[in-house]
Subunit: 398 residues, 2 copies
């Protein structure tokens, strides 16, 4: 597979992460309010005079505002910020955005035509207010005092941010995984402000097995004594051991069993034979897991992991509508594009098919593309080449 | 599903775990020797005068010697020792054996006809020598000084134990999961001493995804500071937090996604609504995971978990034969019965099909039964009723 970033289409160039402080407090689903919320964001392309060409892209659990181009702040690393897809083009400049293959001149989200906006999620650790941010009431990091938030809260924060930016309508909201949940939430919460949504490798409600994987990842963090009930900031320590395990669980659920077979098989670290050790990796896949864990804990905050993981398990479009997806989607007016991947067992195609069927039953414009690809949930970051024509055609049909 | 233990077939009654000390040292694959090995075992039925009716049953990761009947030592608990199948019949007496539905008068392994022997594995924590046993050299528990062992080592220990018991030949070796690996190892290591093997929900080599899940479980234990590099005995503490996470990972891999859907769905703990908490379970499946973790750490040793998990990832019948399963099975003379389950994604049917194909190509007697059942790897402990006629017919055909 050719990395999309080396295809003919261009780059947005050097991207700078900026910050905006919301003017008012944010009301949350849990009943609390958050004041002094700061949003980290990047924009690519040019806002049209009529302000009708805005696409909001929403990141997944481990992403951030830096979705495209080369970071002005962060040096190039070995991996992108998404789910570990490699930064392979070796071009000059800082770290490549997590969705660089999809955002840029001539790409799926074409910055020659659209003004693409990307924010770090509420609860994040990359510039937007989250558990590691200073609590205005104490001046110290929130830690355990940070509220438990929902996908709706994230979307409320994005709405308030766009208000402050002077953007009323969105030509599209797009995202994969947790990002797709935000797109769905936008379309149902603000139906008259969203023209279309692009929902990739996502769901209206995480299946019970996904709820369980997320619970296990959070348990691994919270059972680490260094977590200190969430108040580890300033202790000189952090629950890196537990978050490493959480990340390992994540990686295996993002990949498919055949992809693991093709990538690692049962190859040993030592060419000769077994070394008979419990503490050192024997299989290449064991070494890969350790590497992924070690690199992740250097760039991610454990409380943000807990917060976003909890939010994505809560997300359930039909919950407030007697369990009826049709009723939940009844008010939607956006055109809907759903993309799903055959080997994605964490966000299986069935959920997208259910959304598509409900929208069809309601007579609403929807299209579903099931892409046959072997990489599991990671496909949404790897199969950019095959998604591009689908997304371009969909956006052009508006 | 009716628990097999309440079917017409009978019980072996009260079962007592006995112990036998191996007379000589045991040579291990890693090059070390273990002296003073003790084997915990139970037997059911009567040894024939010709000693030709012995069936060795081999347990999986979390089992023990108490395979059938009511324990003379341990009180009845809420769960059996297998993978959490419930002890539902409420009869008087101690804990029910982990394979009670399969072993007894008139059952799959019919104690009216066979003398069934069950041992706790080498490396175990239920009476057989393992990491928590006293090291003869120091008098203190082995801890980190316990050798890294293999499935072949477990089988060598069983062979030495049966020698001491005066049993030369086995009518059958039977087991599920790691137990099935032992049966395969028996048939290839001691081909002229095994008449038949019953290999259930097992494999000739764990797939890479299974290697990864096991690595994650072990990481969760070893990253717990209370593990102390394996030398936690006598510290007043144990890596219960990490082993709890390991057990949670195990449980989700033993079940299928549809089974989790049917059993828990997305039902909340609170009938009303979300409680907005990170630390307390919100979903029923989260509460289930915590319960499974908490009950497991009370009865199992973390170093045994590490040891057995490592052994089952090492197991690879073809490794010493240039990767050829046919060559690995070339010397086998036992009749082979393979049972596998459609929804078992940890030990997928493909591996049993590969074993069956290799044996067929070699012209050796083999039969494979793929049972269509929804419970995942746990099927081997739950689908006793459907396995029983298959096993009885196979054993009678000898």
């Amino acid at each position: 597979m050719v990395p999309a970033s080396t295809l003919a289409a261009g780059s947005v160039g050097i991207a700078e992460t900026r910050h905006l402080d919301l003017p008012g407090p944010l009301s949350l689903d849990c009943g609390r309010e958050l004041s002094g919320v700061r949003i980290a964001y990047e924009t690519y392309g040019t806002l049209s005079p009529r302000r009708d060409n805005v696409i909001l892209v929403c990141h997944a659990l481990s992403g951030d505002a830096h979705a495209a181009g080369r970071s002005a702040e962060r040096p190039a690393a070995g991996t992108r910020d998404g789910f570990g897809a490699e930064d392979r083009d070796g071009a000059a400049g800082g770290a490549l955005g997590w969705w660089d293959g999809m955002i840029g001149p001539g790409k799926a989200f074409d910055t020659d035509r659209y003004f693409v906006v990307s924010t770090n999620l509420l609860g994040g650790c990359r510039g937007t207010t989250g558990p590691s941010s200073p609590n205005p009431e104490t001046g110290a990091p929130y830690g355990s005092a940070f509220p438990v938030i929902t996908v709706a809260d994230m979307v409320r924060a994005q709405r308030a941010f766009l208000d402050a930016l002077g953007v009323e309508r969105l030509a599209a909201v797009a995202g994969g995984s947790l990002g797709g949940m935000q797109a769905l939430e936008w379309a149902t919460r603000y139906p008259d402000q969203v023209d279309s949504i692009v929902v990739i490798a996502s769901t209206h409600a995480l299946q019970p097995q996904g709820v369980a994987w997320n619970a296990i990842a959070r348990e691994a963090i919270m059972r680490d004594p260094a977590w200190c009930g969430g108040d580890y900031y300033g202790t000189g320590s952090a629950p890196d051991a537990g978050m490493g395990v959480a990340r390992m669980v994540g990686h295996i659920t993002y990949l498919s069993a055949p992809a693991l077979h093709d990538k690692f098989g049962r190859r040993l670290q030592s060419a000769d034979d077994l070394r008979y050790t419990l503490t050192e990796p024997e299989f290449e896949v064991e070494s890969y897991l350790r590497h992924q864990a070690d690199s992740f804990v250097k760039r991610f905050d454990a409380n943000t992991y807990l917060t976003l993981s909890r939010a994505l398990t809560y997300f359930d479009l039909a919950r407030g509508h007697g369990g009826s997806l049709e009723r939940a989607l009844g008010g939607i007016s956006a055109r809907t594009l759903l993309i799903t991947f055959s080997s994605d067992w964490l966000y299986p195609p069935a959920a997208s098919q259910e959304i598509d069927a409900a929208l069809r039953a309601l007579g609403k414009p929807t299209e579903l593309h099931l892409i046959d690809a072997p990489y599991g949930h990671d496909c949404f970051l790897l199969e950019e080449e095959r998604q591009t024509p689908i997304v371009r055609r969909f956006l052009a049909g508006g």
